[in-house]
Point group: C2
Chain length 322, copies 2
């Protein structure tokens, strides 16, 4: 049961309540669902920016510098840094780097880092929920930062209004292989550490890959995916990044894609809610136990039991008891 005062304080941007609310969504249980339901009417005002890319590309530095620009414009900033490292090596690196920086103590900035506990997929969902909390608490610009390692950045990109992919000259060759998924989610690219050797070749490589992207892709019609060169550690290129975000926002608004994307996102969320509820009803303790029993029989060499038969039995049982 969520206390009403927590919601009230959260909506009034009480920092401790915001922190507590994020801890609640991190657990992702029934309390989390109740909280999200309660704050929902206040979610949707913030602009969400996704920042992703390989480790060491300088995402945290860019986040930091970009946040400073927003602060100068008198905007409040919420930052969620998603770090898909596991508990066993110690957890969230990204957010800590920003928290220790000069914006970490400001009242108009809220920083939270989230590390993997359990599965990756779950983490990005929780990060998006945490962004909803910051949104409801009134933060105007929300930055979702994540290391690009597979599924998580796709989820983050889907949750962001504008997504930038940060690369460095050294990522040139991996661009073609592993990071292909990143190519598709980028509204624009940032080539950070652009003073390093190979920067021009990297820009050319990205351009080549981009040119292979069909111009008839409805997702990018009327939008040209730019490559911004930056040296974030020296604050070079950050204004250009901010401008590109603004241009992309205007493009989204002008074409109606801004609200279309948000409706799409809501569809994904509704499906998630329905499926999660159904799943939790499905895997009751009794049904888990019965599954374990069937598995023991299989382990003991009982013939004639296949996973398919067991699955059908469980499904039948569920339908009978619904």
């Amino acid at each position: 049961m969520i206390e009403k005062t927590l919601i009230e304080k959260l909506l009034n941007n009480d920092r401790r309540s915001v922190a507590r609310a994020i801890s609640i969504v991190e657990k992702n249980d029934s309390e989390s669902a109740e909280l999200l339901k309660n704050i929902y009417p206040n979610v949707g005002k913030a602009y969400r920016i996704g920042i992703t890319g390989p480790p060491g590309a300088g995402k945290s530095t860019i986040t930091n510098q970009l946040a400073k620009l927003f602060i100068k414009e008198k905007k409040t900033v919420g930052i969620i840094a998603v770090d898909p490292t596991s508990p066993f090596t110690g957890g969230a690196l990204l957010g800590d780097r920003i928290r220790m920086s000069d914006i970490g103590q400001r009242n108009d900035v809220f920083i939270r880092s989230m590390a993997t506990r359990g599965s990756l997929g779950g983490l990005s969902k929780k990060a998006v929920d945490a962004a909803d909390v910051l949104d409801a608490a009134g933060y105007e610009m929300i930055i979702l930062e994540t290391v690009g390692v597979g599924q998580s950045e796709l989820d983050i990109a889907q949750a962001a209004d504008t997504t930038m992919v940060v690369l460095v000259p050294e990522s040139g060759d991996s661009v073609q292989a592993m990071k292909a998924g990143l190519m598709e989610i980028a509204d624009f690219f940032v080539l950070n550490k652009s003073d390093r050797p190979g920067a021009q070749q990297a820009v050319t490589a990205i351009k080549t890959i981009l040119s292979m992207r069909g111009q008839d892709d409805p997702g990018i019609q009327g939008w040209s995916t730019e490559i911004i060169q930056s040296i974030a550690s020296e604050n070079e290129g950050i204004i250009e990044i901010k401008n590109e975000i603004n241009w992309h926002k205007n493009y989204l608004l002008k074409t109606g894609k801004f609200s279309a994307n948000r409706v799409k996102r809501m569809k994904v969320r509704i499906k998630d809610i329905v499926e999660e509820k159904l799943r939790s009803e499905l895997w009751s303790e009794a049904r888990e136990n019965s599954l374990n029993l069937s598995l023991e029989k299989i382990a003991a060499g009982r013939q004639g039991l296949s996973p398919y038969h067991i699955a059908e039995e469980i499904l039948e049982n569920f339908k009978e008891h619904i």
Copy 2:
């Protein structure tokens, strides 16, 4: 409807039927489910090896050399190379590299590369299904090779009896950040390209991280996670890799973990089957349409409709009609 002759031919290791069957599981529809159900009694004899690691670590070369050793022992080899690059940059690199090699044309080797079409998560499930096809077709050693980018290698590791993580001296620093998930799935490590500078430091770094892994972790009790140094391009260290696989297999058999792991895997699979069936019944065309209609109302600014209300309506409707 799967023709009976396809199954028969597949079980007799007819190459064209094996290829067709894998194409069927790649589609992951009702035909795929039927096929898997039919071959299930013949699945489980093969030993499954997972190979994962960052791009450029030499996974394909190791796969290739290892396969040659198995062939020398008169074992048949099935290889599934999972490449999480997207269609838009061209697809499966890993498998093609092996297919073009000297083992690619042999009758006792079957190689299939699978690239992302849609979501990453789905890809690794299909790869595991494809491994089942190869298993049923009688391939004795199955190698599942995947680029380590997040969720996919966890799925692959869960499906493999023995998983090795391939690193190179240059991956030293990323070891600590991004690859933390890889640390947990490794039954042993291969430091490939060990003639390069920094090899010794990399070994030390991996050892340090491994020492942080609690010895009370029941998953690794009685097993010491080794680091094998190799230069796969010169065929150095491959016999050592093969020996380590054998040792791990013996360890699994001796401790009863071999069958325990397979039962665990079956549990995951059963849950997947149940949830997928339920999901497909849930998202009927009618219910999809009704969801889209609700979303249109929200987009038109209709107040009082939240994703939570819509989700509840859908769930109620589903329960009534089940």
